[in-house]
């Protein structure tokens, strides 16, 4: 049976691996200075791709410097590597590395991590070896001979989306409820919302949650380029991510991980943990509209924000800051604006709303988690990160996007939006903790 009174759920640890660095404080300082993590793509040779830049995690990142049991993770893919670094930071920040009383059967994990990267060279070589140029089709027998000789079990299994979860479970000994969800760009926001509910019911004491993802690989960029979803501003890539700007031309791929330690207030209090914020609201909806387009009135986004407000028992006026989905695509930014106006009414123009994707790029499945972490820090410091590169707003985007410079102000309650390709919408609300 669920706990008779739903537990209050609090955030006690945060950690991230991002294109601007891989520790909380330095990255936060850079966000507040409005720095961009974007640069030429170096992960692979993109010199003839329509988009030749991305926001990459920098080369000095090595998950082995963060974990305590590197032998368990030898050969992990990028997603698991990002997840391990971010989660280890969050774990330490929460003081769980020094807490002997943890019941590992009541430690759960809910991630929104992406699929891994293909073993590109071997995959492509096997495909071409199996290609029958005359018949213009693959000869499966030839393909199998080539692929069986080239492909490696660990490398292949690492592409399964549950592998970051599996590695975190090994690293931290988690045996409680364990899930990975993959709702495109909404995944880690959804994971945090669902993890909150696992705790509310009392099915765990502590949940490690967030997401990890990279799509900065040849077929990831190919896929988004074919969809014409990416910015192609190759000559001025540092400023290519331009959410809400009239000249925005698509999003910029980012990568990394954001991880959060959530626990029941009861558990956090009992072990004397420092509470960073409380999760008070969560909403989830489907556009149920089209595979390729967002419902033009923002129906799904509106439903998700309203559910989050209702579940928190809050009114729009109670929200001090919105972390926008704000991808920098034509469609998203204007429809998100429309949705916020529908939900917030007259108050819409007085709520600051910014998109850190202007600096981080879009971490896809991991985006929501890093964005929620910026909300935790905004509450802590009373500072809102800017939307950079916003020199000329789109006339349809007429809200306060905290343009170009960070701002100080009262930030006790934040709402964070994430919307996924295909129409999944998720919204979280967190609040400054008051006992």
């Amino acid at each position: 049976m669920p706990h008779p009174v739903p537990h209050r759920v609090v955030i006690t640890g945060i950690g991230w691996v991002t294109p601007l660095g891989h520790d909380i404080e330095s990255v936060w300082a850079r966000l507040l200075r409005g720095e961009s993590g974007i640069g030429p793509t170096s992960r692979f040779d993109a010199s003839t791709f329509p988009t030749r830049f991305a926001a990459q995690v920098k080369g000095d990142y090595d998950y082995r410097r963060f974990v305590t049991r590197p032998e368990l993770h030898e050969g992990v893919g990028l997603n698991s590597g990002f997840a391990l670094g971010a989660a280890s930071q969050a774990w330490k920040a929460a003081g769980l590395d020094k807490f002997a009383g943890l019941d590992h059967e009541r430690l759960g994990i809910y991630l929104g991590s992406g699929e891994g990267s293909l073993d590109f060279e071997n995959y492509v070589a096997a495909n071409l070896a199996g290609w029958d140029n005359e018949k213009r089709q693959l000869d499966a027998v030839r393909w199998a001979a080539a692929a069986l000789g080239r492909m490696d079990a660990v490398r292949e299994v690492e592409q399964e989306p549950n592998m970051p979860l599996t590695h975190l479970a090994l690293e931290f000994g988690a045996q409680g409820p364990a899930y990975n969800c993959l709702t495109a760009c909404a995944a880690s926001t959804q994971a945090i919302g669902e993890a909150t509910h696992v705790l509310r019911r009392g099915d765990a004491d502590v949940m490690l949650t967030g997401g990890a993802h990279t799509m900065i690989h040849p077929f990831g960029v190919t896929g988004f380029n074919r969809l014409t979803a990416l910015s192609t501003r190759n000559d001025t890539c540092l400023t290519a991510s331009r959410p809400f700007s009239v000249d925005r031309d698509g999003f910029v791929l980012g990568e990394g991980a954001g991880m959060i330690v959530l626990e029941t207030l009861e558990h956090a209090t009992k072990r004397g943990a420092t509470v960073l914020a409380e999760v008070v609201g969560y909403g989830s909806s489907a556009d149920a509209y089209r595979i390729t387009d967002i419902q033009p009135e923002g129906r799904g986004a509106i439903a998700s924000m309203r559910q989050a407000l209702d579940s928190a028992g809050l009114k729009p006026e109670d929200i001090h800051y919105i972390s926008a989905h704000g991808t920098g695509t034509k469609e998203n930014d204007s429809i998100e604006t429309l949705g916020v106006k529908a939900v917030f009414g007259a108050h819409a123009k007085s709520v600051p709303m910014s998109s850190v994707k202007s600096m981080f790029g879009h971490l896809i499945a991991a985006a929501g988690a890093v964005e929620l972490i910026t909300c935790v820090l905004a509450i802590r410091d009373g500072k809102m990160p800017p939307t950079i590169n916003l020199r000329q707003p789109d006339p349809r985007c007429d809200l306060d996007y905290v343009p170009n410079a960070a701002r100080s102000g009262k930030v006790d309650v934040c709402l964070s939006n994430s919307f996924g390709f295909g129409g999944q919408n998720d919204t979280l609300i967190i609040r400054r903790f008051q006992g």
Partner: protein, 450 residues
């Protein structure tokens, strides 16, 4: 006081090699007629395992309303199977959605069609669907790759960017996002409530059912599509499965006997295609719509198969194998079983049927039995335990929800899913699901309220 709402299983939509829909599937289970046979989807001669349970004679367009027909082009096989399964589940539940109602004719020519009568407001219907890692169609991709070869025939990434990539259809990426199963289902059925895609290997389908149960319990939706579907019958996905070392490579010439869960000579599992989507509902809203259907004189009064009594999820830790093998003592899975039983508030002695993973891989089978004993006691080994894997293969993300359908039907019919079907009192049934990677799910079902 947080009151947990009661959740009923009201529609079953299995689609596997055993058939499409619950009746043919059930009959095939009772006939003990396996769907495992030689692979025909591609030439398997180059693979050590050459048998599987394929879905044959299947056309997704039969399951898609006219308004969504164009989208069929951007569905991967996994999505097609989920869409068909959801269609069958909704019809089985007599759940009227925009995806299955026949629109009433317009009152007069030129006037708009009458609003179809839906069972629920769209915002009260959710979808939680388990999906696998979807492999790109190799013919389509390699055709494009073939435009990016250098003079020696090797791949040239410069040519890929300039000449290869443009060969791909603009929507190429959208075929392979795992959330597309749920996206197409929500679009077809106008399900605007909470929606999620669980990607935990073979545990995905069962975990998705658990997620829907939680969403209904907390009042965020009244009805949900849940379950999972997957097709690993393409060379890349099939190869990945082979590399895990779990496939049977010695019984290619006797497919019907290939999967032998718990047997001393178990020699590996076999891939199956498909899975199942089911409809679960809040008991109160279901009762209301059933009553409305009855009083309206409609002959489509829905019925409930069973009650979803409990759900548990957990993670197995096996550092020695980096979680790629189960824990021999079954500790992780036992935690999920105990949690599900605790919620169901039943004694282990009330479980009269277990639909286990029963993979037919010795290490997995032993670990599963260890978990059953650990959670339920040694007597639990005497509980009838029926694995569907010898018949339908291992359907990946769809495996748990297929098993769930068999359990729900068994509870409804009070019949054990053994050859010939054996009438029995089934007070509760337990469905188990585990993944490569160690995620576990357990679901407990009991009879529907009288």
């Amino acid at each position: 006081m947080q009151m947990s709402r009661r959740v009923l299983i009201t529609g079953l939509g299995p689609i596997t090699g055993l058939g499409a829909g619950i009746e043919p599937t059930w009959q095939r289970v009772l006939a003990n007629a396996t769907a495992i046979g030689p692979i025909t989807s591609f030439d398997p001669a180059g693979f050590p395992c050459r048998i599987a349970a394929e879905v044959r004679d299947f056309k997704v367009s039969n399951h898609v309303p006219k308004s969504h027909r164009k989208s069929v082009k951007v569905m991967a096989r996994d999505t097609e199977l989920a869409v068909a399964a959801a269609d069958m589940a909704s019809r089985d539940a007599k759940l009227h959605t925009r995806g299955n109602v026949v629109e009433a004719p317009a009152a007069s020519p030129g006037s708009p069609a009458a609003e179809p009568k839906l069972s629920y407001a769209p915002s009260r219907v959710g979808a939680h669907i388990g999906a696998g890692l979807i492999a790109a169609e190799l013919n389509e991709l390699t055709d494009a790759l073939s435009h990016a070869r250098d003079a020696n025939g090797n791949f040239d990434i410069h040519k890929w960017g300039s000449e290869g990539m443009p060969q791909l259809t603009p929507l190429w990426l959208l075929k392979y996002l795992p959330n597309m199963l749920a996206c197409h289902v929500t679009i077809i059925h106008d399900a605007q409530g909470p929606s999620n895609t669980i990607t935990c290997g073979e545990a995905s389908g069962a975990l998705s059912i658990g997620e829907s149960m939680r969403v209904i319990q907390r009042g965020a939706a009244d009805a949900c599509f849940c379950g999972g579907a997957e097709s690993k019958l393409n060379p890349m996905a099939f190869l990945r499965q082979g590399l895990t070392g779990r496939l049977n490579t010695v019984d290619n010439d006797r497919p019907a006997q290939a999967v032998r869960p718990y047997a001393a000579d178990a020699a590996g599992t076999v891939i199956g295609e498909g899975g199942a989507i089911v409809v679960i509902e809040d008991a109160e809203t279901f009762r209301a719509r059933a009553a409305a259907a009855a009083s309206g004189g409609e002959n489509d009064v829905p019925r409930a198969y069973a009650t979803l009594l409990g759900f548990g999820a957990s993670q197995t830790i096996n550092p020695a194998t980096r979680n790629l093998q189960p824990d021999a003592e079954g500790r992780g899975l036992a935690l999920a079983i105990r949690a599900a039983l605790r919620e169901a508030a039943i004694d282990p002695s009330h479980i009269d049927l277990i639909v286990p993973v029963g993979l037919g891989v010795p290490e997995y089978d032993r670990a599963e039995l260890a978990a059953i004993v650990r959670a339920l006691g040694p007597k639990a080994l005497d509980i009838p335990r029926v694995s569907v894997k010898p018949l339908a293969g291992n359907c990946g993300a769809g495996a748990g929800s297929l098993d769930f359908c068999v359990a729900a039907k068994a509870v409804a019919e009070q019949t054990l899913p053994v050859p010939g079907g054996k009438p029995a009192k089934i007070r509760a049934a337990l469905v188990l699901s585990t993944s490569l990677g160690g995620q576990n799910a357990a679901l407990v079902l009991g009879p529907a309220p009288g």
